[in-house]
Symmetry: C2
Subunit: 125 residues, 2 copies
DNA sequence: AGTGCTGGTATCCAATGGATACTAGAGCTT
DNA sequence: AAGCTCTAGTATCCATTGGATACCAGCACT
């Protein structure tokens, strides 16, 4: 790692790009669940909770496209589709979990800051 | 409750919440820049590049609300507003930079996966 | 008098998010 | 035999959001 700040625009774009994929409300939850093992479509839907079919499909397609999950179709009746994290997916999970850990430790502070800010905004009105 | 897996829905929500704040396309870039030191509004706008005034304002307000940056107004003419990372902001920067590092190391792999997926999709048509 | 600088709003339109309804195809129920 | 169910999705529609553009105040400079 370099002591110089490598915050060149190009690098930051890449970071932003990945973070947009990862930070779209459902991706983390889905990847988190898949981190525990392969899962079927509806299994994911129920355990994640609150996600619509369309959004789960969209999320999974995106993850598949970027090489984070594999999609395996069993042409049985009724159909069965397994989703599983790839190697790349597991590697991604690591820094994401670090951020997740931070989030768990600091939600209280963020909430407090929000309450302060909102109270000040109300007072100003 | 004594979970072996810490992927409880409640925790994941918190993670998702933070990631949504962090992953909204501009936040990382702005926080990254501010990590190098305090900056003025238009200074940020030009160095980040490609961000509209409205989005920069929105992003900064959100960050301020959540306690990641401070906003200091100097009532001079023309006005001058400095934005600076708080302690909390710097702490956030750490796991975010870890994820950023991962992103920098792996963009090639993601791009390759995308190209593969898109080629397969085209072939299927 | 006009122009520029600053850090913003206001307005409008396109893109996205998400709820709901629908599909196929076989099995089970009645 | 008619209808319901279970699965993994599309299709459709509408609300929310993202983002480009235009406008604003207030003073200094020419």
């Amino acid at each position: 790692m370099k002591p110089r700040h490598m915050h060149l625009t190009e690098d930051c774009r890449a970071v932003s790009d990945i973070l947009q994929r990862v930070g779209d409300k459902w991706t983390v939850l889905v990847v988190g669940k898949l981190g525990e093992g392969p899962m079927r479509f509806n299994e994911l839907r129920t355990t994640v909770g609150g996600i619509s079919q369309k959004m789960l499909t969209t999320t999974l397609r995106g993850l598949e496209r970027d090489g984070f999950v594999t999609r395996t179709v069993y042409p049985t009746i009724p159909p069965r589709v397994d989703y599983e994290l790839t190697e790349l997916g597991f590697e991604l999970l690591e820094p994401v979990n670090a951020l997740g850990e931070w989030a768990r430790m600091n939600t209280a502070r963020v909430k407090a800051a929000r309450a302060r800010f909102d109270a000040a905004a109300d007072a100003a009105r």
